[in-house]
Subunit: 306 residues, 2 copies
Amino acid sequence: MAVLVVGSVALDSVETPFGKADNALGGSGTFFAASASHLTSVQLVGVVGSDYPMDQLRALESRGVDLSGVEQVAGSSFRWAGRYPHDLNSPETLDTQLGVFASFDPKIPERFQNPEFLFLANIDPELQLNVLKQVTNRPKMIACDTMNFWISSKRDQLVELLGHVDLVTLNDGEARQLTGTNNLVTAAKTILSYGPKYVIIKKGEHGALLFSEGKVFFAPAYPLETLFDPTGAGDSFAGGFIGYLAKTGDLSEENLRRAVIYGSAMGSFAVEKFSITRLMEVDKSDIESRVAEFKKLVEFEQEVNV
Amino acid sequence: MAVLVVGSVALDSVETPFGKADNALGGSGTFFAASASHLTSVQLVGVVGSDYPMDQLRALESRGVDLSGVEQVAGSSFRWAGRYPHDLNSPETLDTQLGVFASFDPKIPERFQNPEFLFLANIDPELQLNVLKQVTNRPKMIACDTMNFWISSKRDQLVELLGHVDLVTLNDGEARQLTGTNNLVTAAKTILSYGPKYVIIKKGEHGALLFSEGKVFFAPAYPLETLFDPTGAGDSFAGGFIGYLAKTGDLSEENLRRAVIYGSAMGSFAVEKFSITRLMEVDKSDIESRVAEFKKLVEFEQEVNV
């Protein structure tokens, strides 16, 4: 089944303790598409400026990403520049230039208006709501992401959006900010009360938690010695997660758990190199091997009658 | 099999956002013993002052903890006072009075000199080395803990100690400090090169990692809504871990993984109330239920031939 993703398509300039990339492919839609395309076909909707290196982006087409919803308009592309400290925690933003993204008002092409899976990547919640209005049949699953900026500036619209989605992904800091509570279990319960059936709280190097009514699943982050650039890890996680659900078409809790592991695997690849480089290199057998390593990482047998 | 633990027996005054405890039982040896005693018999060696509430400590005897190695001498007991912030991360130390602990020089009673399992809780590495000299037969397993203070003030002695132990537990910050590297996988490899066969890196609310040559096991922290006071979580973890190994006498990698889960379960109980209160309340069925919940928390089936 196909996934429609609406998000940013940007150019990132990133500095980490290991090197520097200038104007490399970035943005939530780009990372999501590069990741999900390993598992299913992807339709990407976004906007870029006249300066965007479309030839580089078109590499995604060879993986089955339909780029016909990426509009190229006069002006500058969305550019972000950031620097990660030695511990690779939160980056310092050096520069943000929204460019044509500032007036992004996603128009979903008619042929994309009936998606089976829809991912609303991190954009203004008002735009996320507008996308929902353009979708003709209810997708099997609608998932969304967000960020601290929208939680503080457009909280009401975000909470309204959460009443319309099946699943939301957000990081631990955002979950705390949205709910005003430090305890993540309590935060997840509060977010579930806004409407979604599932909440995924991403904790970066500390893994991810999938919450549903009365249930919780935990997936560790893969213990990488080669962590290189954390940019895009969350969107790559979402791409692996939704991509796996779309591939299998199975929304059982058991399959959602597996999907979280696929998400974690794709996130772990994304951070091994700058931009989407590593996501474009790995193949099916790399992905299956890493999923198997996740299994080994947490596996233990409970002894009965100790 | 019995476990010998050498550590501090203290009085803690702790303030958390949820309440305050004054002069409650604390110390690494106390938490370890309260935890391990659910799984095996424990011999505790430590020192307290004439002011120590021995009647309260004796509650441990009903669980099979042999307190005859806890020396009571003239002077004040080791007292620590701390306050946890709203997010329950690292406490602010308000006061530390070493009292009789300042001149602690553990003498292992002859009847304890042949332990099958030995845990050297967080004390001066020189004293930990002295304890080793008093042990007549090589225990099946020697494990130790440490802290930032010893890493900076007695690094050489600590590294010497690591050449004599089978396993070391330390938290993520301490692992980074000891090795001068941010990446925990690299840090664990470096620590293994100092001698131990196993390294456990404790990440508090983010779980624990068990490293051995070329292998890693991850156990999450239990997602608690009732996290109350983190004091003693690490020593309770160690008590559950070593206690389970001593109970089963099995040092296979499979059993070490299970032991990490028992450690995580005991740590998760410890933080539900002040001091060792919760550790003294829980019973075998509570522990087995929590271990089963850990299993459910991480369980997923890998699909073959996707």
